[in-house]
C-alpha cells in the first residue's frame, strides 16, 4: 500500500507545483507533469503485484471525520481498474505538456495542470476507498476537477454550456449514489465497505432497489443512454489529453461503482441482468449510430464511448444473468469480457483522443470536413490512429476483438447450453454486437478516411506537420499496447481469476479457472493468426519497399474519367460518406438536412447542411428541465433581493427553533 500512498502524495505535490508561482508557467507545467509520471509509475507497482497474485492490501489512517474512516483497500478489482487509470494518466501527462502549450494561454496553464493532477489523484482514491463517505468525497473531487478542465476554454460559450450540463448531470447521478450508500448504511450499520458486504443477506426486492439506484447513479457517470447527454458535450470541450482521460478511464469509474456494488449485493436476480443487457444494447446501437452522424471528430469519439460502455454493460449483464440462472461459464466469461473491454477501451479510446488532439493542434479544427490528406503529413499520428480505429471496431488481431470475443463466446455459450431464458438474451447480444461491429467499422472508416486520406480540404490542413515526439511517444506506446494486449491475452486469464475471486458469488461453487480455460485454446489460435497476419503484412510492406527502391515515385491526381479540373471539394465528405446509413436510421437520429441551389443543367452556387440534433436533450431533458424551471419560478418571490427579507427569514427560523426547543 505504501507505494500507492506515495503516489497519491506525489500527485498532490504535483498539483501544488503547478500553481505555486516560483517559476515560469511552462517550466512548472513540465515539472508537475514529470512528477505525475513518476507518481503513476510508482502507483502501478502494487497494482501489478496484486494482479499477479500477491495478496491485497489495506490501509486505515486515523481520521476525525464523522461517519468516515480513511480506509483504503487494494484488491484485485481495484488494481484492475487502477492499471488503466495510472497508465493512461502517464500517457496523457506526457502528451499534455506540448499540447496544452498551444491549447490554452499561459494564465490558464497552472490551473489546468492542477486540476489534471487532482483528477487523477481523486480517481485513484475512488478506486481505493473502502468507506462510503470517503468514496463520495473522492467522487465529487473527480467531478469538480474535470469540470474545471471542461470549461478551461471558458471564453467559448459552447464550452461553458457543456460544463454546466456536465456538472448538473453528474450531481443528479451522485444523488442516487448517496441514496444507495445511505440505505446500505442503514441496513448494515456502517458506511465501511467491509460492513456493506452484509447486504447480501437482504431481501431480493430491497437488493434490487439498491441495484437500481446504483445503475442510475453510476450509469450517469458511465454514460448509459439516456443518461449520456453530458458525455458528447463535455468530452469534446475538454483539452484532448483530458478527453482521453475522461473517456478512457473516468467514465469507467461508473462501471467500477456498479461492479463494486454488485460484489456487496450477493446473489443477483435475473432482471438485473436483463436490465444491463437492455441498457447495453440500446447504448451500444444508438451510441454508434449517433457517432456515425457526427462531423466533429471529438464528438464522434465521445458518442463512440457511449457505444463501448454499452458493450461493457452487455458483458456485465450477461454475466449477471449467468450468475442468477446458475450457468457458471456464461457468468465468468460475460464478466471477464466486460471487464477486459474496460481495459481495452481505455487503451484505444485514449489513443484515439490523443490522436484527435494531435490533429486538432495541427489543423485548428475539430470538423473532419476541413481536414483530409493528413496521413502523408502526419504519418506517425495517422498510423497510430489507424491502429486505434481497427481496435475500436473490434477487428482482429487487435485488443478490441479480444474482449468482444469473450462476450460473443459467453453469448454463444448461453444460446447453445442455456435454458430459454438465457438463450434469448444471448441471441440478442450476438445480433446486437454484430450490428454494432458493422456500424463501428463504417463509422471509423469514415473518420480515418475523411481525416487522413484524400487531399487537404483547407489550407491549415495542407500546412499540417507531424507533432512533437513527446506527443507521438504516448500514441505509439498506446498503439503498440493495442497489439500487445491481444497477443498476451491467453496469459491474462489468471488475472480474471483473481478479479472475479473477489466476488463472493464466485469464491464459492465450481472453479472459475475451468470456465476461463475454455477460451484458452481459441485465444491461442487468435494470437497465432495475429502473428501470421503481422508476418504477412510485414513481408508485403518489405516487398513494396524493396520494389520501389531506386525507382522514381510520382504523385498525380486520382483518375477522374477525364474531367479537366478536379477539386478537393469533389472528395467524399463525412456527411456524404455516412449518408446512406444515416438515412436508413433517420427515424432514430432525426438528422435534418438543408439543400439548396442545385437544379437545372448549370446550377449556380449551392449549399448543403446536415445537422443531427441530440434527441435526448431536445425531447427528454429540455422539456423536463423547462417544467422544473417554471415550477421553481413560482417560488422566486422568496429570493427578492431585499437584504432585510433574508435576515427576516433567518430570524424567524431561529426564533421558531428557539421557541420550539423550549416549549
Amino acid at each position: 500500500m505504501f507505494p500507492l500512498l506515495v503516489s497519491l502524495g506525489l500527485m498532490l505535490f504535483a498539483a501544488v507545483v503547478a500553481i505555486v508561482p516560483v517559476a515560469k508557467p511552462q517550466t512548472r507545467a513540465k515539472l508537475s507533469a514529470i512528477i505525475a509520471v513518476v507518481a503513476d509509475g510508482i502507483g502501478l507497482v502494487p497494482c501489478v503485484s496484486v494482479l499477479t497474485g500477491h495478496p491485497g492490501m489495506t490501509f486505515v489512517a486515523p481520521w476525525q471525520m464523522p461517519f468516515c474512516s480513511f480506509a483504503l483497500n487494494l484488491d484485485a478489482l481495484s488494481a484492475f481498474f487502477l492499471v488503466p487509470i495510472l497508465g493512461l494518466s502517464m500517457a496523457a501527462a506526457v502528451f499534455g505538456v506540448p499540447y496544452l502549450r498551444h491549447a490554452t494561454d499561459e494564465a490558464n496553464l497552472g490551473a489546468a495542470w492542477c486540476s489534471f493532477h487532482i483528477l487523477v489523484a481523486s480517481m485513484v482514491t475512488v478506486m481505493l476507498a473502502a468507506n462510503g463517505l470517503l468514496f463520495l468525497i473522492a467522487w465529487e473531487l473527480t467531478v469538480l476537477s474535470s469540470f474545471f478542465l471542461v470549461v478551461l476554454d471558458r471564453d467559448n460559450e459552447v464550452n461553458r454550456q457543456a460544463g454546466w450540463i456536465y456538472l448538473t448531470a453528474s450531481h443528479l447521478g451522485t444523488v442516487f449514489i448517496i441514496l444507495c450508500f445511505l440505505l446500505l448504511e442503514r441496513e448494515t450499520g456502517s458506511l465501511d465497505f467491509s460492513a456493506f458486504s452484509h447486504a447480501a443477506l437482504l431481501s431480493p426486492a430491497f437488493k434490487g432497489f439498491l441495484f437500481l439506484l446504483a445503475v442510475l447513479g453510476f450509469g450517469t457517470k458511465a454514460g448509459f443512454i439516456p443518461f449520456h447527454v453530458w458525455l458528447p458535450e463535455a468530452h469534446p470541450a475538454a483539452p484532448s489529453h483530458v478527453s482521453a482521460l475522461m473517456s478512457g478511464v473516468m467514465i469507467k469509474t461508473g462501471i467500477y461503482g456498479i461492479v463494486r456494488i454488485l460484489y456487496f449485493l450477493g446473489h443477483p436476480s435475473p432482471w438485473w441482468g436483463w436490465l444491463l443487457i437492455t441498457i447495453g444494447l440500446v447504448s451500444g446501437v444508438l451510441g454508434i449510430l449517433f457517432a456515425l452522424s457526427q462531423n466533429d471528430i471529438k464528438k464522434l469519439l465521445a458518442y463512440c464511448s457511449v457505444e463501448n460502455i454499452g458493450i461493457i454493460a452487455m458483458g456485465l449483464g450477461l454475466g449477471l444473468l449467468g450468475l442468477s440462472l446458475g450457468n457458471r461459464d456464461v457468468a465468468v466469461l460475460g464478466f471477464a469480457g466486460g471487464l477486459l473491454h474496460v481495459l481495452n477501451h481505455a487503451v484505444f479510446k485514449g489513443l484515439l483522443f490523443l490522436g484527435s488532439g494531435a490533429v486538432l493542434e495541427q489543423t485548428g479544427t475539430r470538423d473532419m470536413d476541413r481536414m483530409g490528406g493528413l496521413l502523408k503529413r502526419m504519418p506517425y499520428t495517422g498510423a497510430t490512429f489507424l491502429v486505434g480505429c481497427l481496435s475500436i471496431c473490434g477487428l482482429p488481431p487487435f485488443n478490441g476483438f479480444i474482449s468482444e470475443f469473450f462476450i460473443y463466446f459467453a453469448a454463444f455459450a448461453a444460446v447453445l447450453n442455456g435454458s430459454l431464458s438465457l438463450a434469448v438474451p444471448g441471441l440478442f447480444i450476438i445480433v446486437g454486437l454484430s450490428l454494432i461491429g458493422g456500424l463501428a467499422a463504417s463509422c471509423f472508416a469514415k473518420a480515418f478516411s475523411i481525416i487522413f486520406l484524400g487531399n487537404p480540404r483547407q489550407a491549415r490542413a495542407a500546412e499540417a506537420q507531424e507533432v512533437a515526439w513527446s506527443m507521438r511517444g504516448p500514441m505509439m506506446v498506446l498503439a503498440s499496447l493495442c497489439a500487445v494486449i491481444s497477443f498476451v491475452a491467453p496469459s491474462l486469464l489468471g488475472i480474471f481469476e483473481r478479479v472475479l475471486g473477489v466476488f463472493p458469488e464466485f469464491s464459492t461453487g465450481p472453479d472459475v479457472t475451468s470456465s476461463l480455460a475454455q477460451v484458452a485454446t481459441p485465444l491461442f489460435i487468435i494470437t497465432a493468426s495475429g502473428f501470421l497476419f503481422f508476418t504477412i503484412l510485414g513481408s508485403i510492406v518489405m516487398t513494396r519497399v524493396g520494389l520501389l527502391a531506386n525507382r522514381k515515385v510520382e504523385t498525380s491526381v486520382t483518375w477522374d474519367c477525364g474531367y479537366a479540373q478536379p477539386s478537393v471539394k469533389m472528395q467524399y465528405t463525412g456527411s456524404s460518406f455516412s449518408q446512406p446509413l444515416v438515412e436508413l436510421f433517420n427515424s432514430v437520429l432525426g438528422t435534418e438536412t438543408q439543400m439548396s441551389g442545385v437544379d437545372g443543367y448549370f446550377p449556380r452556387k449551392g449549399s448543403f447542411l446536415s445537422h443531427s440534433a441530440n434527441i435526448f436533450i431536445e425531447k427528454l431533458f429540455k422539456p423536463a428541465f423547462t417544467r422544473i424551471e417554471t415550477l421553481s419560478h413560482r417560488f422566486s418571490w422568496i429570493q427578492n433581493g431585499v437584504v432585510q427579507a433574508y435576515v427576516f427569514y433567518i430570524t424567524i427560523t431561529l426564533v421558531f427553533l428557539l421557541i420550539g426547543g423550549l416549549m
Binding site: 433581493g641 431585499v642 437584504v643 432585510q644 435576515v647 430570524t651 426564533v655 421557541i659 423550549l662
Partner: protein
C-alpha cells in the same frame, strides 16, 4: 444595581425602536455601550484585576465612543436624509417590541442558564437586545441602521457574556472586541462605498445588483 442597569438597557432598546432619526439611533447606542461598560466593570468587581479592568474600560470606550464616532462620521459623509426610512413605523415598531419583550420574558423563565443568578432579568434582557437588533436590521432601509442593529445585538451577547462568566481569558475578550472593531470598520467602509456606487445608502438599491 444589576437589575437597574439591565432595565436601563431594555429601556434604551425601546427608545431605539421608537426613534426614526439616524443620529438619535447612534447616540442612544452609545449610551447603551457606556452602560454595558459599567455593567462589565461592576459585575466583576470582586475579581477585578488589571486585564479585567482593561477589557471593561476597552468595551466602554469602544462601544460608548469609538463605534458611535465612526458611525456618526460616516453618516455625515454619506447621508442625504436623516430618517432611517423604516418599513415599519414607530408605533408598529413599539408594538412589535412589546411582543418581543413578552416573548423574551417568557423565554427567560424557560431557559435555565447556569450562572445567571446575578439577576433574573439577565436572559430576558439579552434576548430582547438581540430581538431589537434584529428588528432594526430587518425593518430599516438605511444601511447605517443595519450597523446599529448589529451593535445592539452584540451588546446583548456582551451582556450575557459578562453577566454569566466571572472571568474569561484576556485573549478571548480582547479578540471579541477586536472582531467588533473590524466589523464596524468594514461596515462603515461598505456604507461609504455603497454611497459612492448608488448615491444613496438605501439597502433597497442592493436588489439592483441581482443578476
Amino acid at each position: 444595581m444589576f437589575d437597574f442597569l439591565i432595565v436601563l438597557v431594555i429601556l434604551i432598546n425601546v427608545r431605539l425602536l421608537a426613534t426614526g432619526r439616524i443620529e438619535s439611533l447612534i447616540s442612544w447606542t452609545a449610551v447603551q455601550g457606556v452602560i454595558l461598560g459599567v455593567f462589565a466593570l461592576y459585575s466583576r468587581q470582586a475579581h477585578l484585576s488589571v486585564d479585567v479592568f482593561i477589557i471593561g474600560l476597552g468595551a466602554l470606550l469602544l462601544k460608548g465612543l469609538v463605534f458611535p464616532a465612526f458611525l456618526l462620521h460616516t453618516t455625515k459623509i454619506v447621508v442625504t436624509s436623516r430618517e432611517t426610512e423604516p418599513y415599519v413605523g414607530p408605533i408598529g415598531s413599539l408594538l412589535i417590541g412589546m411582543v418581543a419583550l413578552v416573548v423574551s420574558l417568557w423565554l427567560g423563565t424557560r431557559l435555565p442558564i447556569p450562572g445567571t443568578d446575578t439577576s433574573h432579568l439577565l436572559v430576558p434582557g439579552t434576548l430582547f437586545s438581540i430581538f431589537t437588533g434584529q428588528f432594526l436590521i430587518i425593518s430599516r432601509k438605511m444601511a447605517i441602521s443595519q450597523a446599529v442593529g448589529f451593535l445592539v445585538m452584540e451588546n446583548g451577547a456582551f451582556m450575557i457574556g459578562v453577566g454569566t462568566l466571572y472571568y474569561a481569558p484576556f485573549f478571548v475578550e480582547s479578540g471579541v472586541l477586536l472582531d467588533m472593531f473590524l466589523a464596524v470598520l468594514i461596515m462603515t467602509v461598505l456604507i461609504t462605498d455603497m454611497n459612492r456606487a448608488f448615491h444613496h445608502i438605501d439597502t433597497h438599491e442592493l436588489s439592483r445588483l441581482k443578476g
